[in-house]
Subunit: 128 residues, 2 copies
């Protein structure tokens, strides 16, 4: 299977698939003409990568997930540990965003938002 078909099936751009090969996340066979030749198992791998990336796992975390993915003897607890870690990351990020949103909307609320040049937002941002 050529790369464009692999792209369609996995949902990843061809460019990204080549990049994933570059950083050794996938190792497709090569046809006689030098074209990459993807097996079904590699489509699964690529799809896996797309999903994991979509869930915000970093490439490095994906690498770890793939090791577990490949290891038929893995303990599912190990996988769950990674997922939980990611959930904690998300929670942290959400908390952060909430705080930012608060600060910003407080500033915005104090802003008269008119033709005048007085601006609570700019004032708020220039201090310490």
């Amino acid at each position: 299977m050529n790369i464009s078909e692999a792209s369609k099936r996995s949902g990843l751009p061809a460019k990204t698939i080549r990049y994933y090969e570059d950083i050794e996340l996938v190792r497709p066979a090569r046809a006689e003409n030098g074209y990459r030749d993807y097996a079904d198992s590699e489509i699964e791998r690529l799809t896996f990568l797309r999903q994991a990336r979509h869930l915000g796992f970093t490439i490095d975390q994906c690498r770890n997930l793939l090791v577990l993915f490949d290891d038929s003897d893995r303990a599912s607890a190990d996988v769950k540990a990674l997922a939980d870690k990611r959930i904690k990351e998300i929670d942290r990020k959400m908390k952060e965003l909430k705080a930012l949103r608060n600060t910003l909307s407080t500033l915005a609320r104090e802003c008269r938002a008119d033709e005048g040049s007085d601006c609570a937002i700019l004032e708020g941002l220039k201090k310490s």
Copy 2:
């Protein structure tokens, strides 16, 4: 004022301050010896940048904010528009994170997390 003092007062690493000069966000004077020499107004600018960046404004958005910051005739409504845009971005991001969290925790909940190799998470990720 030397860069290390500017760093202390603005809360930005010296490296970052130099970088901001590189991309023309600040233009400190130079002393005879070639050292950068920061005025108080530039500390205000740098602090402003730190705060704005901390609130998640991109460098480009910061550039726009600085134009307004510099323009004593600005309308505060213009500033508020940028802040509101950023708030919307934050809301979008939070929504996204919530969705991810949901997906992940659903998968994690289905995972038995034991010594066994069956793993709902890995299974979930490999399908389209």
